[in-house]
Subunit: 240 residues, 2 copies
């Protein structure tokens, strides 16, 4: 009953590293929540929950992968079903002081649901054909682009500017970069699956799906949390 990660299996490596990084990040955000100003405590709690939920799922996904060497698609999407909406909550909380309405949160969550449901159909019910993969990938991308737009030019961006708070403006800009660059790693992973463009076009292996997803998760979940943390502590140093 030991954790047997083969030295030539980088994917198993990232599953385990991801698990540990998520757990550590979660403890970090919980602990620091006690230190930051009151108005940021809720945001830090959400960061801790995102990474904590991921830690549990990585624990399961790691075992699943070690035992089967298959992609744990269901576990992956169960994780995202919870963590992506919580990331939308972060956007909402950061712009709330500037007047964000709860409707903004629902719109972001609706876009995430579209993105994830379509992605799930694309992966879970894949028949190895390019048409299936492209169709559902495209539908999913509509949801993704909506979130991207909201963060960069839509309501979130406008509210951040309106807040007049330098830390919030910078923070939302940083989160926008995560959505633009960090989140874009997921569709790259998706296209590695059998029949996907990177699979058929460049011959990238289907097993790389998990490699990309694991790297993206570490960057986005922990990175998002650190940006929020950065905003929360920025007011404390006189230089800010």
């Amino acid at each position: 009953n030991i954790v047997d990660i083969r030295v030539d299996d980088p994917i198993a490596f990232t599953f385990f590293t991801g698990y540990m990084a998520m757990l550590a990040a979660s403890i970090f955000f919980f602990a620091e929540r006690g230190v930051v100003e009151g108005k940021w405590k809720l945001s830090l709690l959400v960061s801790a929950l995102i990474t904590g939920i991921a830690a549990v799922h990585y624990y399961y996904m790691r075992d699943y992968y070690l035992a089967t060497h298959q992609t744990p698609t269901a576990l992956r999407y169960i994780d995202w079903t919870l963590t992506v909406p919580l990331m939308c909550v972060e956007f909402y909380l950061l712009t709330k002081a500037a007047g964000a309405k709860i409707g903004l949160l629902w719109k972001l969550i609706a876009a995430s649901v579209l993105m994830l449901v379509a992605g799930y159909i694309g992966e879970a019910f894949a028949d190895g054909s390019t048409s299936h993969s492209v169709l559902w990938g495209t539908i999913s991308t509509v949801g993704y682009v909506y979130i991207l737009y909201t963060a960069w030019a839509g309501e979130v961006a406008q509210l951040a500017r309106a807040s007049g708070d330098v830390a919030v403006i910078k923070g939302i800009r940083a989160l926008g970069w995560f959505v633009l660059v960090g989140w874009a790693i997921y569709p790259i992973g998706y296209m590695c699956m059998k029949g996907g463009w990177l699979n058929t076009g460049l011959g990238w292996q289907a097993s790389s799906v998990d490699l990309f997803y694991n790297i993206a998760d570490a960057i986005n979940k922990i990175g998002f949390g650190l940006v929020v943390y950065g905003i929360a502590v920025s007011g404390k140093s006189p230089a800010a």
Copy 2:
């Protein structure tokens, strides 16, 4: 010993998502309990207990379902036996400041016990006949309707109005909606069982029982808690 959720098994999906959502919600309510005003701490603790108790049962129910693909009826009712009375406690706590007597709590609990005992007989001792399912479902509904009445027009509603506290009035109204719409999902699930009206009438599958119960639990247990949380923090922002 891995968690093997088949991609085409939405019920397993909801068991696992439910588990994780309950756990995260429980941690959330515990953590935020430390931040809210003193008079709301008890209500938040009860919310944390409701979702925490559910997390444990979902952990077991998930495994039970994965192993047997049967409905974990006993575990389900064990959960409800504890969590529904705790929801009645929430109603009591919210209206206590306006003069709720302990007798109100006992009446609500008695109605829940009737609702759950009858429901359990209906499900656990089902013989697949419509008459059994309808008889016990109807008895159960008497208890449900009593709680519904109390929340919308009876003692709870009257006390909320008498409190003159806008947050409490709005909160009790929101909880009333949960009881009316969210709780109504349970009888829908119940009627999917073999011999139930939706099973014989519309041909809905018996396996949908768990799908409806899982969705309803997530909405009601977490939603209830969030409403209470909303009341607790509403006093903090000057806009409230």
